[in-house]
């Protein structure tokens, strides 16, 4: 039964590794954010879920169940909170005037964008 937990944790580590590769190799901030946000979120959620399953292998006492519930709560909170934080950071970068990368260096839309949006 413990191979299920170890398999989930290994998949989570794989997602972490792909997130780091994207963080190091992509050309601009928005693409790095794209890779990191998904790899980070899913990696942490999968590793925490695997640890919760691994913790339940020691028996179904009330303490073990409480710890696993807390681990699952961290995972669910992380699954909601990380995309929110990433989105806020991305919005802040766009408003601060960081241009997205293009192949020929020319912006695709009118740059800087008009300041008509409400913040």
């Amino acid at each position: 039964m413990s191979f299920v937990a170890i398999f989930i944790m290994l998949v989570g580590t794989f997602f972490f590794a792909t997130g780091v590769v994207g963080l190091l190799r992509f050309p601009d901030f928005y693409a790095r954010m794209h890779a990191t946000g998904k790899g980070d979120t899913l990696g942490a959620v999968l590793v925490l879920t695997g640890l919760a399953v691994y913790n339940l292998l020691g028996g179904f006492s009330s303490g073990n169940i409480l710890v696993s519930l807390k681990l699952m709560f961290i995972a669910v909170f992380w699954f909601v909170a990380t995309p929110t934080a990433i989105h806020a950071l991305l919005r802040a970068a766009f408003d601060a005037g960081i241009m997205p990368w293009t192949k020929d260096g020319k912006p695709v839309i009118e740059w800087p964008p008009r300041k008509g949006r409400t913040k």
């Binding site: 972490f16 790095r32 990696g43 942490a44 961290i74 909170f77």
Partner: protein, 77 residues
């Protein structure tokens, strides 16, 4: 996992913009969270470490939001 932390710390230190640094620090923090829970299993004090990890995750989320809002009004340097 430690190797991954060092690699993303590279982006946190040498990132071209300030937002790259914030993102690198956030990424280091998320892996620190996982390592914290793993340390709880290694030391067999998981009931204590899981509370620390819970508080740490909430703190990380709030700090990222606050820093993003601050640099949104201030502008990137």
């Amino acid at each position: 996992m430690g190797i991954l932390i060092l690699l993303s710390l590279y982006r946190g230190v040498f990132g071209p913009t300030v937002f790259d640094r914030i993102m690198g620090v956030g990424f280091v923090g998320s892996k620190t969270l996982v390592i914290l829970v793993l340390m709880g299993f290694i030391y067999e004090r998981i009931d204590m470490f899981v509370d620390i990890a819970l508080a740490y995750s909430i703190l990380l989320f709030a700090s990222t939001l606050v820093v993003a809002k601050y640099f949104q009004t201030r502008g990137a340097t």
